[in-house]
Amino acid sequence: MKLLTHNMLTSHVKGVTKGYPLLIKATEVKVNEVEFNPQFVCRMIPKLEWSALVKAADDLGHRQDLPAELEPDYEKNEDLLKKVHRALLEVEVVEGSLQCPESGREFPISKGIPNMLLNEDEV
């Protein structure tokens, strides 16, 4: 699971109102090289919850100086864009789980694929 996806996921456990962001508990993390595409990174940045990205990268030990606040002129800062690219697309959680911050319910991640299915009694 990449952090771009994690940034957009929320807990849908019944009754939960503060289900975002999900807490990442990783037992295996991998970093792959993915071709840097600044235009894509610039298109995604406005859709992100920036602090959730920073926290997730930090929790995985891959924050790599991502600033706590996003500067307004990020489009011109290639160094920053490369760091964002790495965090969004190159860091992958292979094994672990995502935990709902309110209910504690865990969604397992296996072979890089999260399983978000709820059981019939949670729906």
Partner: protein, 431 residues
């Protein structure tokens, strides 16, 4: 299909005969044509029309009236060219092709012929009709033009499902996948989502056009690439059979974002306009079952730890959920493209689901059998949803006439049951 176009700025029309593979378009620039041909998997080639007619004499007259200043740039001394002859519905002997090319000698070519690498290619296109059992001696119609570009029909072969690493029973064929990506106006740097991703055929096509892709499916085994193979002679799927491997096969692995096991009726995404396009082929309940998580009173089998109990996902609910999801999560101007199964004897346009935030762009039918077809629906988001928009289908009958159609699966199988009863066999309905 061959497109012949003229850059006549005065008219803007298309003349299309359903039978003929030739389409004549007016009022386009060469740039427009190249742009379309770079994406189209339906169009074979495009030419700038210089002349046309039913006979050689008519063609020659037509060519003589084509402005010579428009011909000049492509025929000047020092340029190289070649002339091809395309015959639709007829095979010509080589000698006859040469004769036809020689008959065009009257054209003011000043450059020299280069068969290997000409700067300009011209074509004589001959239409011998559409009946392979009744081929006329002379063409019904002829066109002469300058070749501009070929379409992307090669993608249908190169991305054929036959050669794909990972397929399933309902993998979308390559041609249709690319058509859907075009309907959704998928572009470079877009983020595209498929909520019923299956084996990822639609994502493969979108990644080819430069979009980053993600998908979900309720079926754990399909997402993980496990279980029985859909290929003849293969029992179980191998380790290289999953969606990511499919993208890798075509060189677009860098466009892979994620796939997840998830129930499309229970959104896992935060409320925001995240996706540039949503492209999907929801289950019809025929070859795969429609499912969602939820309580089911008649559980008889023990549960797999990662596969929660599922209940029948009514067909009309699938589309209500899909439209609401799209209204919430598409960017403004973003498109939803999906297949809607219909029972033909009862179909009318009002059956197509609508939503206050989505504008219906197109509705194209593909016949599946005498009484069933599916329709490729394209919608575009025009505004963000307000409080009560998701319930519009309850208050306004216009927004849920698909309800009655919900019996699609029943109707589909009742047709089969009637046939099989005559033969004296039984058909079991898989739900």
């Amino acid at each position: 299909m061959c497109i012949v176009y003229s850059s006549n700025p005065h008219t803007h029309s298309a003349s299309v005969s359903l039978q003929s593979p030739f389409v004549c378009l007016d009022g386009l620039s060469e740039e427009d044509v190249r742009w379309v041909m770079a994406r189209s998997v339906c169009a074979k080639s495009a030419f700038e029309l210089w002349g046309h007619g039913r006979t050689c004499a008519e063609l020659q007259t037509s060519l003589s009236s084509y402005p010579s200043e428009n011909m000049g740039p492509f025929m000047h001394k020092g340029s190289t060219y070649k002339i091809n002859v395309y015959t639709f519905n007829k095979t010509l002997l080589f000698a006859d092709r040469i004769k036809k090319i020689d008959a065009l000698e009257f054209l003011p070519f000043e450059g020299s012929v280069s068969l290997k690498s000409p700067e300009h290619i011209f074509c004589l296109l001959e239409d011998y009709g559409t009946d392979p059992n009744n081929i006329p001696e002379h063409p019904d119609y002829m066109y002469f033009g300058r070749w501009i570009a070929d379409g992307q029909r090669e993608l249908i072969r190169s991305h054929s499902v036959k050669n794909r690493h990972f397929i399933g029973n309902t993998s979308m064929d390559a041609g249709l996948s690319f058509i859907m990506a075009n309907h959704a106006k998928v572009h470079e740097n877009h983020l595209v989502f498929d909520p019923f991703v299956g084996t990822g055929s639609l994502l493969v096509a979108c990644s080819h056009f430069g979009a980053y892709v993600c998908g979900t499916d309720i079926d754990y085994n399909t997402i993980h690439g496990k279980g029985r193979s859909s290929r003849k002679n293969h029992m179980w799927r191998g380790p290289d059979e999953n969606i990511r491997a499919n993208l890798r096969q075509y060189g677009t692995e860098r466009m892979y974002v994620d796939v997840m096991v998830s129930d499309a009726s229970k959104s896992v995404w935060r409320k925001a306009a995240l996706f540039d396009a949503i492209i999907t082929d929801p289950p019809y309940g025929i070859r795969e079952s429609t499912r969602r998580t939820g309580s089911h009173k008649d559980i008889t089998k023990p549960l797999d730890s990662h596969v929660p109990v599922s209940q029948a996902y009514h067909l009309s609910d699938i589309f209500t959920d899909l439209l609401n999801f799209s209204a919430e999560h598409l960017v403004i101007g973003g498109r939803l493209v999906y297949w809607l199964p219909v029972y033909r004897p009862e179909y009318c346009d009002e059956v197509v689901p609508l939503h206050p935030c989505l504008r219906l762009i197109s509705n194209c039918e593909q016949t599946l059998s005498s009484h069933t077809s599916r329709r490729l629906i394209t919608m575009e988001k025009i505004k963000d949803p307000e409080e009560l928009d998701s319930l519009a289908h309850l208050s306004d009958p216009r927004f849920s006439p698909y309800q009655g159609h919900n019996a699609f699966r029943q109707k589909y199988f009742s047709g089969l049951n009637k046939k099989s009863k005559r033969k004296g066999t039984e058909v079991t309905v898989r739900g």
